[in-house]
């Protein structure tokens, strides 16, 4: 018997116990609700809701370990100090109430799983061994039929039970895990942490570029000019003048290179073309990309400036990936706005096989998109084509 089937069977065998405890607990909750008019019921209800949390945890762990319904843990119970706060927090604890709902709604689901297990595993076993136990007095002919029938049932049992456990799985996932709003809060928390880290990392990068690049160049430039000045001061002999000329030539070249480098650096921080709108900036980007890029833009309303920046950097990064990895000879960028969302699609006919796994550039991009509550979809089978779709809100 495969391990999963054994686990699912074990889960089903524990079900009566868990469902039974849940039922008893439900009765306690009901009694507490009925007695809330006496005020005794209020702390009792609070207690039983906290207990519901515990029961929910046990159910969640079982479902996760045995039937593959894994969810993240909901936020822990954090009451304030003092009895009244504790009671208050327990009474409005969504996780507790959801666990109570689970105990109630899971009853038919548990019954279904149990009945299926009894029918398939139990029935199959009984039929298989019935000839041996002489349950059927007729003798060989019927035994020859019953044993294969039992085998058939046993063969179907794992699949049947897995199917019958689907409602249990669904309930565990939806009622015992974090609620939708809780999950959203967590996602936003992660996005916020990423946004802050990302901002710091970018500042550090800018600082380093200025320090190692521009600043070092300017110091060198000043040094050449200082030397040249000394050569000029040293007199008017031809060799001094010649050296001074060479130094000024070098400084002149350095100055021009520094300006070009600084321009690239500035564009990396924030492209000036974005002031004219996303479409203009993307057109400039397309023109600067080493392979031909077909750009189509349809933006009836202008997105927030910060959204334009995110979309622009996505396009920059994705086009750079196309050039670097895909081997495609041209690419297409499509940006549209509507229904409050901006959709950016970057397409190429290259080698495909782009993955947004951990450590890839696409992962960082997905995080950045997530930071503005957006999503990124990567479609890139081996052999191409690669289509990457970024969807972000038009306004934050």
């Amino acid at each position: 018997m495969p391990v999963t089937a054994a686990r699912e069977l074990a889960y089903t065998l524990i079900l009566p116990l868990m469902a039974g405890i849940g039922l008893v607990h439900l009765v306690v909750v009901l009694l507490s609700v009925l007695t809330t008019v006496n005020l005794i019921g209020v702390p009792m209800l609070a207690l039983s809701l906290v207990a519901a949390r515990g029961l929910g945890t046990v159910n969640r762990r079982l479902a996760g370990a045995l039937i593959g319904a894994r969810t993240t843990d909901p936020a822990p119970f954090r009451p304030g100090k003092g009895l009244f706060r504790w009671v208050g927090a327990a009474l409005v604890d969504a996780t507790g109430w959801r666990a109570v709902a689970h105990a109630l709604i899971r009853l038919p689901a548990a019954a279904l799983a149990l009945a299926t297990a009894a029918g398939l595993w139990g029935g199959g076993l009984v039929l298989l061994v019935s000839p041996v136990w002489r349950l059927v007095p007729e003798g060989w002919p019927s035994a020859a039929l019953l044993s294969p029938a039992g085998l058939a049932l046993l063969f179907l049992a794992p699949r049947g039970l897995r199917l019958a456990l689907s409602p249990e799985r669904l309930l565990a996932r939806t009622l015992l895990g974090p609620s939708a709003s809780e999950a959203r809060i967590r996602r936003l928390e992660r996005a916020r942490a990423f946004a802050v880290d990302d901002a710091v990392a970018r500042l550090r990068q800018v600082e380093r570029d200025l320090h190692d690049g521009t600043s070092a160049r300017l110091v060198t430039l000043a040094m050449s000019l200082g030397l040249a000045r000394e050569e000029l001061e040293l007199g008017h002999r031809p060799d001094h003048l010649e050296r001074a000329r060479a130094l000024v030539d070098g400084a002149h070249r350095d100055a021009k290179e520094t300006v070009a480098e600084l321009r690239d650096l500035i564009r990396g921080i924030l492209p000036p073309a974005l002031d004219q709108g996303l479409e203009t900036a993307l057109a400039t980007l397309a023109a600067r990309t080493p392979i031909p890029v077909r750009l189509h833009a349809d933006l009836p309303e202008r997105p927030d400036a910060s959204i334009e920046v995110v979309a622009y950097f996505c396009a920059t990064e994705l086009l750079a990936n196309v050039v670097r990895h895909s081997g495609a000879r041209h690419a297409a960028v499509d940006v549209r706005g509507g229904d409050g969302r901006l959709t950016l699609v970057v397409r190429d006919e290259g080698a495909g096989g782009a993955a947004s796994g951990a450590g890839s550039g696409l992962r960082g991009l997905a995080d950045r998109v997530g930071a503005v509550d957006g999503a990124m979809d990567v479609h890139s089978p081996q052999g191409g084509p690669t289509v990457i779709t970024v969807t972000i809100p038009l306004h934050l």
Partner: protein, 214 residues
């Protein structure tokens, strides 16, 4: 004069080497990180090591730490720490074990070639060179400014140059004063701040900096 350069920006490293060679200094090694610097100093025993503060792999204070270890391991080697920022903490760490043959300058000082070379000469001779910007920051900070309130404006000018490691002669030249009046200002300063008088320029620097609680 034999010099080792440690600077990770190749352009600046080459520029420095060219400048020093053009002015008759012997650059015996030019390296790009702290480890290589310590190896080069151990091998060549130069008169001065010119050290960039920020170098790989951490790009924080690699050079400073290497400089401090060089001062400990090779007391005869002068160290000029070369930085794009003024960081009084760095100066304090560098001077913690004494101030003779130590310098801390902003990188752009290299543009005034003569001053830069004379700074190298002074460090090689065991004197102290502190960037005017460092001294300004030290003297400008709140409680220190209070400590200096008793000094006249002229005395403060003299103190600043003293803290940069200048000799009385150099101070006289810079402020267009006679040697005698500089001496008078110096003894006034030491009296007002309650410092034990000292003839050695680098000890003078230390006394002043300690007084300013660097």
């Amino acid at each position: 004069m034999r010099i080792v350069i440690a600077e990770d920006a190749a352009m600046l490293r080459d520029g420095l080497r060219m400048l020093l060679a053009a002015r008759g200094r012997d650059v015996v090694a030019a390296v790009g990180d702290g480890e290589a610097l310590r190896a080069a100093v151990a091998e060549h025993r130069p008169d001065v090591a010119v050290v960039d503060v920020r170098m790989p792999p951490t790009f924080t204070d690699e050079g400073l730490r290497a400089a401090i270890r060089i001062r400990r391991d090779h007391p005869g080697v002068g160290v000029l720490v070369f930085s794009q920022y003024v960081e009084t903490r760095y100066a304090a760490r560098l001077l913690a074990d004494g101030a003779d043959g130590v310098g801390y300058l902003l990188k752009e000082r290299v543009a005034d070639v003569r001053d830069f070379l004379s700074a190298l000469d002074r460090i090689a001779a065991g004197e102290t060179v502190l960037d005017p910007e460092v001294v300004t920051q030290i003297m400008g900070a709140g409680q220190r400014a209070e400590a200096l309130a008793a000094l006249t404006a002229r005395e403060r000018d003299v103190l600043a140059l003293m803290a940069q490691g200048r000799s009385n002669t150099a101070i006289a030249g810079a402020l267009f004063l006679s040697y005698g009046s500089v001496e008078k200002h110096v003894s006034q300063i030491f009296a007002k701040l309650g410092l034990p008088p000292s003839d050695h320029d680098h000890r003078r620097v230390l006394a002043v900096l300690r007084h300013l609680q660097v």
